[in-house]
């Protein structure tokens, strides 16, 4: 029998689960022999309230390994996460939503109540619609990363996470050793050609393609930051490389930071602004700087904009 394993997803898109499937042919021995999956809503039919739905408390079976994807944004997510923590010996937060809040934590930059009200008032929505509140889980006050709510034993970020790293983490657990994961930045793993500080002093939007020759290798393409594009490589954790270079760079597109900060507890927005300033680039030329926290807005990083102070009449 394999190692008992439970999977759960919270506020998520299922990209992490697809990344698990993208392990490819190694997946079959992994799920049929090495692991014994006891709970996984995406793949199997174990139910929270008993198989015929008569139970009253949410139950997940005991498991040696637990894998949680997604951020924590409503009371059901929290209940599921707490049950996973209780039932699993080792709990892994998989993907940037679970580790840093991910894209759903962009909501932390908004007034949540007002946003939700407006979502039910769009031009195509029937007039008079209210925010649903019957038999649907109520939202938390903001979107949290998993480690803000329970103890997490192993963090594996990425949007999506790299299948090779998922295999490494699971194999290391099976072999009872620490996983080998890179501590480098995206830039450290990028083959693009850096020529040092140059003529760039402002950042341009990605409305033109990068300069490169399609039939030449990436090592012949000049660094996208040096070409004047915002590339989050300097402040972002590596790990996305699948074919010898960061994934977005292989498509000749700049990095947007989906593996979260390279520095433990780093702030991708502030760190990037510092990186630009130290290279003589005007950080104010970056349109919408707050969205540099688009993958790491949990942990109190991204907050609603302060409302304009209205002077009280004397």
């Amino acid at each position: 029998m394999g190692v008992t394993t439970a999977l759960e997803w919270l506020s998520s898109c299922s990209g992490c689960e697809i990344s698990i499937l993208n392990i490819g042919e190694e997946l079959i021995p992994l799920i049929t022999e090495a692991l014994d999956i006891v709970h996984a809503p995406v793949l199997m039919d174990h139910k929270y309230f008993g198989q015929t739905g008569e139970g009253v408390t949410l139950e997940i079976p005991k498991a040696t390994v637990g894998i949680v994807t997604g951020s924590v944004s409503n009371h059901e997510h929290l209940e599921v996460l707490e049950e996973m923590r209780k039932q699993c010996d080792v709990l892994i937060a998989l993907g940037s939503c679970a580790t840093h809040g991910g894209i759903p934590a962009l909501m932390n930059g908004q007034d949540q109540q007002k946003s939700w009200e407006e979502i039910y008032q769009t031009s195509t929505t029937d007039p008079g619609a209210m925010i649903p509140n019957v038999e649907v889980p109520a939202p938390l006050d903001r979107v949290y990363a998993c480690d803000e709510k329970v103890k997490i034993d192993l963090q594996l970020p990425g949007c999506p996470p790299n299948p090779a790293q998922i295999v490494e983490v699971l194999t290391s657990l099976l072999e009872n050793r620490a996983p080998v994961l890179s501590g480098k930045s995206v830039c450290d793993t990028c083959p693009a050609k850096r020529e040092g500080k140059g003529e760039v002093n402002t950042i341009k939007r990605f409305t033109t393609n990068a300069r490169y020759k399609a039939d030449e290798p990436l090592s012949e393409m000049r660094c996208l930051l040096e070409q004047g594009y915002l590339c989050m490589g300097p402040v972002t954790a590596s790990g996305c490389s699948r074919r010898g270079a960061p994934s977005c760079i292989t498509a000749r597109v700049p990095c947007r930071g989906c593996f979260g900060p390279v520095r433990k507890d780093g702030n991708q927005l502030l760190d990037m602004m510092n990186a630009l300033a130290s290279n003589g680039i005007d950080f104010k030329s970056v349109v919408d700087r707050r969205s540099l926290l688009r993958f790491s807005g949990a942990h109190g990083m991204l907050k609603p904009m302060k409302k304009k102070v209205v002077k009280e009449e004397v």
Binding site: G15, I31, M44, D45, K47, G102, S115, V136, A251, R256
Partner: protein
């Protein structure tokens, strides 16, 4: 006081949902609901973002169909900025989109749905899953995993990322296709076409024939349909075309994407975060009543197969003719979504090959000139789960001022609720229910691949 059976989570689907079946004192179904449990708020938190960044934010709406959101979003921003992508940019996007359909269909049919058919709806839950299939039919499972991986890696090798893509850009595409990439992909696409024909054959002979009694009853309702067809000849289209809204009697109207607000409305029920689109233009309102539904139409594979006049590729057209001769047009049986899914998979493979054989595909003119500005754009593609609509208004800096999204799955929220209720009423009588029967209620949901 009756009992409520809470089937949670609904499993082997892509999202977060639960089924609640309310039984009366006699143990018969009083009511049944599919509650949609999650809301993230993309429409709001993309406000203020530079519009050209949005295609690489909204792909996170769905990790199974990120290409659909990525490209619908690119089309919407094209519209807002008044840009027409170059012909090669346009075709490279379409190629990625139809290729993503192939993988999605393999995933849904074999990984998520097939355990109900290969192992049977009543098999124990511990084996009624893809792991059980891998143990019961190892050769089939190995082939399925190989083919899905082939499709995913084709996309990843060419476009950098298969999940949460970045290669589609406003005005076209970020990188051209090299001749050696084209040759390699063409070879792989032909392998996938063979597999798609095998899959259709396998399903017709081993699944649909065997389960015809279930197919003719489970979750059946009568609705209209929505899909995309070619502007000229009405054939099936996934990436671009005009919208076609069909009534249950088979009559239909066609409209352009920008006009969608004249035809579709969104109803909100207090028990589901997801809105429920309905056919506003029919002027009959919204009602989930099983005997007399109002405004209810369906999207996704069966809908597209119903609304199209034909399919432009030969193998898929032959399959469509066989399907129509057996089930008519429009076909209403809910489980036929699976059959339609496999016909579409054949089309997606054939269309991929067509695009790879198009002489301009390796051209390097891949991106038109783009200037951020104020405007409105509606981008529509057919996602695996239904017509996907991204509607953006940009400000003078080319940042998002307002966004309205109608996501594929949501078209089917109302019909799924009806199918759940229909299935529950017909399967649960006088307090008699068990795991197998309750799984059949879930099968009615699973057919829609939500």
């Amino acid at each position: 006081m009756g009992t409520v059976l809470n089937i949670a989570p609904v499993s082997r689907i892509e999202g977060h949902a639960k089924i609640a079946i309310h039984l009366d004192d006699g143990g018969n179904v009083e009511d049944a609901f599919l509650h949609i449990q999650s809301l993230r708020g993309f429409e709001k938190f993309i406000e203020g973002r530079p519009a050209e960044e949005v295609p690489r934010i909204v792909n996170r709406i769905c990790g199974i169909c990120p290409w659909m959101h990525h490209l619908a979003s690119n089309k919407a921003v094209d519209g807002a900025f008044g840009v027409t992508p170059t012909p090669t940019g346009h075709k490279l996007r379409e190629m990625c989109q139809v290729m993503a359909h192939i993988n999605d269909k393999i995933l849904h049919f074999f990984f998520l749905a097939s355990p109900d058919f290969v192992l049977g709806p009543d098999a124990d839950y511990s084996v009624r899953n893809v792991i059980g299939v891998a143990k019961a039919a190892p050769e089939l499972a190995s082939q399925v995993v190989k083919m899905r991986q082939l499709g995913q890696m084709m996309l990843e090798r060419f476009a950098g990322k298969a999940i949460h893509p970045i290669a589609g850009v406003v005005g076209g595409f970020a990188k051209p296709m090299l001749e050696e990439e084209r040759v390699e992909m063409l070879k792989d696409a032909r392998t996938l076409l063979d597999f798609s024909l095998y899959s259709l054959d396998f399903a017709i002979n081993n699944v649909f024939a065997k389960y015809m009694d279930v197919i003719s009853e489970l979750g059946n309702i009568t609705t209209g349909f929505l899909g995309t067809v070619d502007r000229v000849d009405g054939s099936l289209r996934l990436y671009d075309g005009k919208q076609r809204l069909m009534k249950p009697d088979g009559s239909y109207v066609d409209f352009e994407g920008e006009e969608y607000t004249d035809y579709l409305g969104e109803h909100v029920e207090p028990w589901a975060y997801s809105k429920m689109p309905y056919a506003k233009s029919w002027g009959e309102g919204f009602d989930l009543n099983l005997a007399a539904p109002r405004g209810i139409y369906r999207a996704n594979t069966l809908a597209r197969i119903n609304v199209c006049d034909k399919i432009s590729t030969p193998h898929a057209q032959a399959a469509l003719e066989q399907f129509r001769s057996q089930f008519g047009r429009p076909a209403q049986q809910t489980l036929l979504y699976h059959y339609a899914r496999l016909i579409e998979m054949v089309y997606a493979c054939e269309r991929t090959i067509e695009l790879l054989e198009w002489e301009g595909i390796t051209d390097t003119d891949i991106r038109a000139k783009v200037e951020p500005k104020a405007g409105r754009g509606v981008g529509i593609v057919e996602a695996p789960r239904g017509t996907l609509i991204h509607d953006y208004v940009t400000d003078k800096n080319g940042c998002i001022e307002k966004a309205n999204l109608i996501v594929g799955t949501t078209h089917n929220i109302a019909p799924m609720n009806m199918s759940v209720k229909q299935a529950a009423i017909s399967l649960i009588k006088d307090g008699n229910y068990n795991e197998g029967l309750l799984n059949q209620v879930e099968m009615a949901v699973r057919a829609y691949d939500p």
